[in-house]
């Protein structure tokens, strides 16, 4: 699927109830003038190390997938700096290798100056001499032009990111900037201790930085004025599947059903929803909330904000088998358990999806999923195992049907 860099925040019609317009307040394709008009100046001269406590008060978490506490990441990088001559590096990560994610491209295309503001703020708070924006080819010209248009962004270097699935993984980002090779590396030390050119390195998703730009302007309380205590603020989501591809900005802890309704999805025609992307989780029915924290029975983690709708007529096992085939092919083939384990998982899932009648298949798939966990330079195997585990659970009826040679979903029997 071609990510739609031009996908715009929800249509004007039904967004009022749920969606907000914080990050895209300057409108589509905002240049520096419309950006300044909508947001006003960024108070860079007021930003110092103590800004980290403002981020702490905001409760902001990373919007790239892991939802790690943003202030902790900043503080860890700041502390690693202590006593060293070389200041840290800050990277705005715009590589969304996830094929179903296009919110970061939309953000960089329409609101590049907000990301630049956030990068300058984070760089200032940490007194970082090195700042980078890592962006995919589709938005590279826009980002380059935005950086060039500003006098305060001369120290920001724009670095191209390849469109591979793992290129956005933090150690791959640092490797790409340092050596031009966008593959994850073994991490004996955390990036916060040693990353780009051996410096303490902070890698933030571009949306995280856009929120930081607004927190620097308006404070923590304003950020928290929407969302919930466990998930304050807003987040961007990329919607796809049985609806038009679109990017929405939604409040934290939003109801999945309300997000889908806002996007124009007929809930009666939804079989299941993949949340979080190819490393995410299938859920149904739809009475879940989207939040990085909370009980799994009621909450689904947004990851990088991917929401993919499987129509009532689709087969979840077949859909997952296709995704796992892709994920296995996207292995960097650096780490053995991933290089061998993912294709093995893919073969077993293919067999289930095709209706092979071997009752041992689901158990073998679960065993392989457990085997690859925690055994790689990045989380690609863990994420793949998580997706497969959720498919076995959510589509357990379908698994049982497939093992007896039937598929409950497709009229025409098997999908070979």
């Amino acid at each position: 699927m071609t990510p739609r860099g031009t996908a715009m925040v929800g249509e004007e019609r039904e967004v009022a109830s749920l969606a907000t317009h914080r990050l895209f307040a300057a409108g589509p394709n905002a240049d520096l003038a419309s950006h300044a008009l909508a947001f006003g100046p960024v108070p860079l001269d007021r930003v110092d190390y103590s800004f980290i406590s403002v981020v702490e008060a905001s409760g902001l978490t990373g919007r790239g997938g892991a939802a790690f506490s943003s202030w902790r990441k900043m503080a860890a990088t700041g502390q690693a700096r202590g006593g060293r001559a070389a200041g840290p590096a800050v990277v705005a990560n715009g590589a969304e290798g996830e094929p179903l994610s296009f919110k970061d491209k939309a953000l960089l295309a329409h609101s590049p100056h907000l990301v630049i503001d956030g990068l300058l703020v984070a760089g200032r708070a940490l007194q970082a001499p090195l700042m980078y924006i890592y962006a995919t080819p589709a938005v590279l010209p826009v980002v380059g032009a935005a950086v060039a248009a500003r006098g305060d962004a001369r120290r920001i270097k724009v670095v191209p990111a390849p469109e591979t699935f793992i290129a956005g993984q933090a150690s791959a980002v640092v490797n790409s900037i340092s050596t031009g090779i966008a593959l994850p590396t073994d991490r004996r030390l955390r990036l916060g201790e040693s990353g780009v050119k051996g410096r303490p390195t902070l890698v933030f998703n571009v949306e995280t930085l856009a929120h930081i730009a607004l927190i620097a302007r308006h404070g923590a309380a304003r950020f928290r004025s929407v969302g919930s205590d466990r998930d304050p603020g807003t987040r961007l989501v990329s919607l796809s599947g049985s609806c038009a591809d679109q990017v929405l900005e939604v409040e934290g802890d939003a109801s999945l059903a309300r997000i889908l309704s806002t996007a124009g999805v007929d809930l009666a025609e939804v079989q299941a929803v993949l949340v979080g992307g190819y490393h995410g989780r299938w859920v149904r029915p739809l009475d879940y909330r989207l939040s990085p924290a909370g009980p799994e029975s009621h909450v689904v983690r947004p990851g990088a904000g991917v929401i993919h709708v499987l129509p009532a007529t689709g087969c979840g096992l077949e859909a997952t088998a296709r995704i796992v085939r892709y994920l296995a092919a996207q292995s960097a083939r650096q780490c053995g358990p991933c290089m061998f384990g993912l294709p093995a998982m893919s073969r077993v899932l293919d067999a289930i999806a095709c209706g092979e009648q071997d009752p041992g298949l689901p158990g073998e798939l679960a065993r392989l999923g457990h085997l690859v966990g925690g055994r790689g330079a990045c989380h690609h195997p863990d994420g793949t195992a998580r997706l497969v585990g959720s498919a076995l659970e959510t589509f357990s009826d379908d698994v049982a049907a497939h093992l007896t040679g039937r598929c409950t979903r497709s009229a025409g029997g098997h999908h070979g």
Binding site: D186, R188, G336, P337, F340, G373, G374, R375, G376
Partner: protein, 72 residues
């Protein structure tokens, strides 16, 4: 956290020497790669009794994929 044996998965080739030196800590998976029997599978916890064998494993790994991290 005590001392750990760090496995660099990007270097490991599954030769299996470490699993012979530290059978109480490491099994082999379907493809021959080391599989920690308990706990963290990349930074494998080692007890005092394992430290000599762990040092041997680090020194002898043909792929230089192992290193020791000592507890601070």
């Amino acid at each position: 956290m005590g001392d750990t044996l760090h496995i660099d998965w990007t270097s490991c080739d599954g030769r299996g020497l470490c699993t012979e030196l530290l059978p109480q800590l490491l099994a082999r998976d379907d493809w021959g790669y080391p599989l920690a029997r308990h706990g963290d599978r990349t930074n494998v916890g080692i007890g005092a009794g394992d430290s000599q064998a762990a040092r041997d494993a680090v020194a002898l790994c043909p792929r230089l994929a192992l290193s020791l991290k000592t507890a601070p």
